[in-house]
Amino acid sequence: MAIPAVPAAVTQTHWDRLAIRARWKRRAKSTGLYSFLIAVSIPIMLPYFWLVTIAFSAKRGVAETEVLWLSISILVPTLLAYWIWSIFARNIGQLLMGFLAVTAVGGAAFAVYVLPELHLRNFIFMVETNFPDVVRSRAGEVSGGISFPNVWQAFANSLYLAGAQTVIVATVASLAAYYLSRFQFPGRAAMLRSLLVLHAFPVLTLIVPLFLLLNFVGLLDQMLGVILVLVGFELPFAIFIMKGFFDAVPWDIEMSALTDGASRRQAFVKVVLPQVTNGIIAISVFSFIRGWEEYIFVFTFLIKNTNWTMSLYMFFVRDDLMGVDFGVVSAVGVFYLIPSLVLYVAAQKFLMQMSVGGVKG
C-alpha cells in the first residue's frame, strides 16, 4: 500500500501544534484521573479520620464532628498547597523551601485551632478497669451488667493468640511448602488442588462442628483451641503462597550445598530458607493480622472475660457504651488499630513482593 506523501512545509508547522495538544491532553487526563481517585477515596478515608479525631477530642459523648471539619479544613488546603507547589517549584531547593513554608503555616493553624481541643480523657480504659461504670455515671446512667477485664489483659491475649498462631503457621507452612515444591509423591497434585478448595469454605459453616469438636477435646474456652482452629484455616493459603516462593529458588544452589558437604537439612536451613525470608515475612504478617482481627471464633469459643481478646473487648465496649460515649468507643478502636497499622507499615516492602512469589503456583 502506498503511503500518501505529506508536503514537508505542512508537517513542519503541525509539530508544535500537535505537541501542545498532546500536552493538554496529558494534563486533562491526569487531572481527571486524580479527581476520580480523590472522590472515591473520600468515603474510605473519612471514617478512619473521624475515628481518630473523635477519640482524641470528643468531650460530650455524642458523635461530635466540629474538630473533624476543623482539622479537615486545615489539612486539605495544606495538602493542596504541597501539590500546587510541587508543580511550580523549579528545583529541589525551591521545593524544600516551599514545603517548609506550607508545613509551618499548616502546623501553626493546627496548633492554634485544633491542638487546644485535643485531650486523652477518652483513653480512660487504659488505666481504669471499671471504666464503663465511670463513663455511665458521668452521663447520669446506671451501671451496666458486663464485667470488663483489664484492657492490657485483653491486649496480651490478642498478642498471644496472633503471635502463637503466626509462629505455627509460618513454621508448618514453610516445611510443607518446601516438601510440596521439591518432592514428588503420590497425591501431590490432588493435595495442591485441595489446598485451594479448602480455602473456599466459608468459615461460618464450620462453626457448629468446631464448637462441638473443641468441647469434646476439652479445648473450649481456651486460647489454644482458637489458635489451632485459626492455624487450620490459615495454613492452606500460607502453604500455597510459600510454595510459590520455594518454586522460585533454583535447584542448583541446593545441589551445590549438598556437594559442598551440607546435609539435606543444613542445605534447607542455610541455603534455601534465606532465599524465602520475604515470603515468610509476608505470610507471618498476614497471619498475625488475621489473628489480631479475629472475631467470630473468639466470640464463639472463648467465654471467660479473662480470655477476651481485643476484638471481644472492643465488641463489649461497643455493646455497653454505644450511645453513651462515642469518644471512649473510638478511643478503644484506635488502641485496637495501632498494632496492626504499625505492622503493616513496617512490613509493607515485603508484602508487595508476595504476588511475585505467588504467581508461580
Binding site: M255, S256, A257, L258, T259, D260, G261, S263, P274, Q275
Partner: protein
C-alpha cells in the same frame, strides 16, 4: 585425585531410561568432556558422580571403592553449575568458605585458604561483594574457587561457559584448562558445545540418547568418527551429508554418480567436511547460492544436483560471486562413508572424485 569408573551403569526415572549400560573409565588427573545434545544423559551422569542421583543399576567406582550409595556430602566432589549456583545471601568470601564450614575448619584457618583460592581465579578483591554485584565471568570464577577450595578428588563442570559472552568464553576456556593442568585434578566437563569439548579436554566422550557413541581424543572424533551422529555433531560448519545407493564401486546420489573404493554396497551416507572441499575444474557441478564471510574464511553454500553443499574457502575476500557456476572437488582421503541403517562408519570406504581426477587412480 581419583580414578573414576562407570560399570554397566543404568539410570531410570520411573519408566524412562536416561542412561543405558554405561561403561567408562576416567583416569586419575585426566580432563575429559562429556559431549552431546541436550537430553542425552550427560548431566545425569554428572549428577550421579556428584552423588545427587543414585544409579539405578551398575557400579560407580572412585578408585577401587563402589560409591553408588555414598552421599553427596561425603564424596568430596567440586562442582560448577551452569548457573554457577552461588548462594545469593552470602558474600563472595562466605560463598567460597561454605564447603570448609562443613569440614570443621576453624575460621582463622579457613580465611587464608579462601584468599588463596580467590587469588587463584583472580577474584581476590571481590571478597566482600555479593553474587548479584558480580558479572557473569566473576560469578563463574567464584564458583570455581568454591569448587576448588575443598581440594576435591573430582572436579565437575556443568556447561560452565554457556552463560558467558564469546570473548570471555575464550579466556575462561584457556584459564580453566591451565588451572586443571596445574592442579592435576581429575576433571569432567559436560557440554553441548563441541568446540568447548575439543579445545579443553584430553579425551571426549560423545553421548547420544543415554549411550556412549564414541570415546576418543578430539582428533579421533573429528577424523575418525565412529558414527554418523559423531560426524555430524563434531565440526563447524557441519559436515555435508549425502545419502545414496552404492553399487559396483560407485555411489549414486540422485542423478550424480560418485566412484568409491572399499567394496561398499547398499544404502550409504557420504560425509564431506566443508573444510576438505575446494573449487576445482571438475567435480560436482553446482551454482553458488549464498556466501557467508566469516572473517578468516568464507563459507559458500552451493546449489548442486544433490542439494545444498557447504564449502569453506580460505581468505577474507570472496573469489566467487553468487550465481556463478562452479565445480566442487574434495580430498578422497578425508571422505567418510557410513552405512545408512546402522549409521556406523565404513572405515575402509572412500569416495573419489567423479569423472577423472582421483577417480583414475
Amino acid at each position: 585425585m581419583a580414578r573414576v569408573e562407570f560399570r554397566r551403569i543404568e539410570k531410570r526415572f520411573g519408566d524412562v531410561v536416561v542412561i543405558q549400560d554405561m561403561d567408562l573409565v576416567i583416569n586419575d588427573g585426566e580432563f575429559v568432556a562429556l559431549l552431546g545434545p541436550s537430553g542425552c544423559g550427560k548431566s545425569t551422569s554428572l549428577f550421579m558422580l556428584a552423588g545427587i542421583y543414585m544409579p539405578s543399576a551398575g557400579e560407580l567406582r572412585f578408585d577401587d571403592s563402589v560409591v553408588n550409595e555414598v552421599e553427596a556430602r561425603d564424596r568430596n566432589v567440586g562442582i560448577v553449575f551452569q548457573s554457577y549456583a552461588l548462594y545469593p545471601h552470602m558474600t563472595v568470601q562466605n560463598n567460597i568458605m561454605f564447603p570448609l564450614r562443613f569440614k570443621g575448619v576453624p575460621r582463622e584457618q579457613a580465611l587464608p585458604k579462601v584468599r588463596e583460592a580467590a587469588e587463584l581465579v583472580h577474584v581476590g578483591e571481590l571478597l566482600d561483594r555479593r553474587p548479584a554485584q558480580l558479572s557473569g565471568g566473576q560469578q563463574q570464577r567464584v564458583a570455581l574457587a568454591r569448587a576448588l577450595i575443598k581440594e576435591p578428588q573430582l572436579l565437575l563442570l556443568d556447561e560452565p561457559l554457556s552463560n558467558l559472552d564469546a570473548t570471555l568464553r575464550l579466556t575462561m576456556r584457556t584459564e580453566i584448562k591451565a588451572l586443571q593442568e596445574r592442579l592435576g585434578v581429575t576433571t569432567i566437563l559436560v557440554t553441548h558445545d563441541q568446540l568447548e569439548a575439543t579445545t579443553m579436554a584430553d579425551r571426549v566422550i560423545c553421548m547420544r540418547a543415554g549411550r556412549i557413541e564414541q570415546v576418543g581424543s578430539p582428533d579421533d572424533l573429528y577424523s575418525r568418527p565412529a558414527s554418523l551422529f559423531v560426524a555430524s555433531f563434531i565440526g563447524s560448519p557441519p559436515i555435508n551429508l549425502l545419502t545414496g545407493q552404492a553399487q559396483n564401486g560407485a555411489i549414486r546420489v540422485k542423478e550424480l554418480s560418485l566412484p568409491c573404493s572399499g567394496g561398499v554396497s547398499g544404502e550409504v551416507t557420504v560425509g564431506l567436511r566443508p573444510e576438505h572441499m575446494h573449487f576445482g575444474d571438475t567435480g560436482i557441478p553446482g551454482r553458488i547460492a549464498q556466501l557467508e564471510p566469516m572473517g578468516r574464511e568464507i563459507l559458500y553454500v552451493i546449489d548442486t544436483p544433490v542439494g545444498h553443499v557447504r564449502i569453506l574457502e580460505g581468505g577474507s575476500v570472496a573469489a566467487h560471486r553468487i550465481g556463478e557456476a562452479v565445480h566442487l572437488a574434495f580430498e578422497p582421503d578425508a571422505t567418510l562413508v557410513f552405512e545408512a541403517d546402522t549409521e556406523a562408519l565404513l572405515p575402509n570406504a572412500r569416495v573419489l572424485l567423479p569423472n577423472g581426477g582421483a577417480a583414475a587412480a
